[in-house]
Symmetry: C2
Subunit: 176 residues, 2 copies
């Protein structure tokens, strides 16, 4: 599927509500555990999603529109704010993610991007020249990959509990 | 984590709302497409989840309590009702899944299962002897694996659109 603002926007509008519905009220048994050393908890994933709204998605759209490919995007710290976020209840973070996303979508609408704009080029610090449409498509997929990660973090907690059903449940098996 | 009704129940209560929030209002570009030949659409996944409420989770709990390991569970048809479900709007199906799950959780509560009950044995047609706790843990993980599948079905539609970011987004790459 080609990137299109009209099909992308409804996904960006629904994923934060899905994250909130899924984990906003869960006990810590599910949300303060991870998949092993060097992996994230659900709580940390949500902190990362909030930071993306503040420092990545719309800020990089603006950067690209202002500087084109002449200046690379500032780097993005994937674990920024984790220590602070750990002190706050997860339900507070999921609500903040919903609010931040609503603000991001308002900001996106206010840019009145055209199809020509979507082909505009920016510079990624690692990939080099990228298109605005690729950045925006990545925003959508980034939501989905972290939603999938949240489901997996929870599922692996029951790796033993499901007994023989693990044969049918790839999600509980370690990523190879 | 060991299976426990008090930690499992909140997940079973939240996943249908998460599915509804995620896909209940999305355009068909996301929900009537699959990952390739022999894979499911989002619409079909939701139909499968509804059928699980009707024919698998609580019915097998009751079967196990009635027959123990003396009689295997009746087989479960993973694609039952797909043709009929395709005729109905997805938002209707997600709402039905929420309702069916609420009824399942009421039925579960009415059984007043004890820790001793959780160790009771039944017979799976393929795996042989299984415990009730394993069946219930599988209910939880089954929700999570299909939520993850829904996210993946959507993400792979943007496999090309994300351009070079696919290097960081394992979710858009074909499952090996």
């Amino acid at each position: 599927m080609q990137f299109d603002l009209n099909t992308a926007r409804p996904v960006l509008a629904s994923t934060p509500a899905a994250v909130e519905a899924l984990v906003g009220e869960l006990p810590a048994d599910w949300t303060e555990v991870n998949e092993g050393p060097g992996t994230w908890t659900v709580h940390e994933v949500v902190a990362h999603l909030i930071h993306g709204e503040r420092a990545d998605w719309i800020p990089r759209v603006r950067h690209l529109i202002e500087f084109g490919a002449s200046r690379p995007f500032p780097p993005f710290d994937r674990t920024f704010g984790f220590a602070e976020a750990r002190e706050r209840p997860l339900g507070e973070l999921t609500r903040e993610f919903v609010r931040c996303r609503a603000a991001s979508l308002e900001a996106l609408a206010s840019l009145h991007l055209t199809n020509e704009d979507l082909a505009r080029e920016g510079r990624h610090p690692e990939f080099g020249v990228v298109q605005l449409s690729q950045h925006l498509a990545t925003w959508v997929v980034h939501d989905l990959t972290h939603l999938s990660q949240i489901a997996r973090i929870m599922a692996v907690q029951y790796r033993q509990a499901v007994g023989p059903w693990s044969a049918y449940l790839r999600i509980v098996r370690p990523i190879t």
